[in-house]
Subunit: 171 residues, 2 copies
Amino acid sequence: MRRIVFFLLLSAAAVVASIVPAARPADEQASPVFVTKIPSGYRDWRFISTAHEAGNLNSIGVLLGNEVAFQAYREGKLPFPDGTMLVALHYKHVASDENNKVFGQPQSFVAGPPTNVQVMVKDSKKYAATGGWGFGHFQDGKPATSAFMKPCFPCHAKETDHDFVFTRYAP
Amino acid sequence: MRRIVFFLLLSAAAVVASIVPAARPADEQASPVFVTKIPSGYRDWRFISTAHEAGNLNSIGVLLGNEVAFQAYREGKLPFPDGTMLVALHYKHVASDENNKVFGQPQSFVAGPPTNVQVMVKDSKKYAATGGWGFGHFQDGKPATSAFMKPCFPCHAKETDHDFVFTRYAP
């Protein structure tokens, strides 16, 4: 009997815990929430577009989207629906000696070593404080600090015409 | 009865036709065969890598692969198995005024108007004369002429270490 009561008490505690959010310090409640885990299977997602950032970034990359994202892009659906997930895969923009030899001139740049993976996840409730988007940045699979992530939304917030997402679909 | 005989004759003719290739002029038999139809569903295929061609080409693009291609790339399987299909989607490499305004400096280049779609299809029998690869080039969905296609294989033939395919997998 004691065991049953203990089990019931435990269950009741679990139900209460799932309804009532744990108390958090005031400053944490006010600060934005970030994506701290890379969505599984992202490397299999579909191609949205590609971009090259010159200058200090010296980067070439692609944006891939999950099924929800891909359909929204194809149909021009804005704002992006909850469940949209986007990953930007970034690589060093490096000259390809091999290709240049074939072309006979220095013109070819390819994706070199991967630098980071950036993530945007749409969940209008969870990420209400940042336009409905959760932002993530990963190097070698490890998430960036909250301090590093702070400028993400203020910058994306400038893209008001396209639900805070810079990249457009490449046909 | 006549109808049955006619049907049998037709069937026999179909079987013979599927076994014996139609006679072709000698020069056509010697010349390579090209891919003249874009594989359906290619835009849904998975991302292999991205590249930027500077100079006159001024192009940014990606290589996508069908399931056979993607698995072969992931497993490092060489030569690529029959059924491998690769498409290179090329776009004008254009400055993004919108992104540059946000970054505060001219550094961002994105995929502009699409220029062409190039295709490689592995079929070691059909394309035996060109290393087992059929090459295709499409502008606005229309295939290039045979004359235009002639330099494809001689150029790819230089890539002996990677089964005549330049692009490597971007992780």
